[in-house]
Amino acid sequence: MSWFKNTAGDNPHMSTQAMDSKSSQPATPPRNELRSSFDRAAFERAALETKAALEAKVKAPAEVKPAVEAKPLVSVFGASLRFKGELRADEDFTLQGRIEGSIHHSQNLTIGSDGFVKGDSRARNIIVDGTIDGDLYALESIAIRPTAKVQGNLMAPRVSIADGASFNGKIDMATAARAARSSEDRQAAAPVETAAPPERATEQVLVTGAGGA
């Protein structure tokens, strides 16, 4: 291993070379200073970039393939999509396809202008631009937009129906408000399940109210 130490200064040639390079350095102090300050700025920039890249990497869902990474994991329900059955979701999405069955949603649900739902939908907020044949239950609000066609009942503390929309059905805000309030207490357990069919919902809310009092 002795030859390994040579580079540390045992070799006279090496040491003189080192001396030479050292002696040449003080000869150009301003340039050196300039370079060092420039290097520091560049280094800081590079460090920031690396940090940002690292953070982005951490935020990105574990090593998705580039093709998928370009499109983040957000739901898109295209017009050609057909569902028949029970759909559950905990993320906001806009439905442009066709669903026959029930939707259990814990966040914001938008039925797009090409969307068609045959069945009951439950969500926190519901916005309707499309066609619905069934009941809507929202914990917070329902908005029926001008292009919507709704055949069914609405149950939510806040309901809006825009001019131009077609709507046939019953609106129940009182029961929904109470149901939403009681659901807030039980939210952790079942965020969307609280909205039961309207006929029974009234009874249930009354019963729970009596039990609470």
Partner: protein, 122 residues
């Protein structure tokens, strides 16, 4: 051609079909039919029989897959079930348990090559 994406929190039970491209990152139980190009993402978990033109599997599947064109099982995939397709690719690293059938596919779209193959075989 539009792409539909089912995010990771989507859980679906029932019949699902999509005339275009469909990417699933969530959970599906039931059947998936009449889809052009189906991708099961890494976070996707499928308990269903699948019929599509082209299937790419990166996640978990329990069920049978029948494709008119091709099935590719990537290295991140875990699959239990049978594959029936004229072209099947299973990448190294993939976990696969089941049968692969490349010759007995009912494929209306891939009819000419299949007919040729049958004639050549006979």
């Amino acid at each position: 051609m539009s792409t539909s994406i089912l995010g990771p929190t989507i859980r679906f039970k029932g019949e699902l079909s999509c005339a275009d491209e469909l990417v699933i990152h969530g959970k599906v139980e039931g059947t998936i039919t009449r889809t052009q190009r189906l991708t099961i993402g890494r976070e996707g978990s499928i308990h269903a029989n699948i019929e599509a033109a082209q299937v790419i599997i990166e996640g978990n599947i329990e069920g049978n897959v029948r494709a008119d064109k091709s099935v590719s099982v990537t290295e991140t995939a875990t699959m239990t079930g049978n594959i029936a397709a004229p072209t099947v690719a299973i990448q190294q690293g993939a976990r696969f348990n089941g049968n692969v059938d490349m010759g007995d596919v009912k494929a209306p779209k891939a009819a000419p090559p299949m007919a040729q193959r049958a004639q050549n075989g006979a």
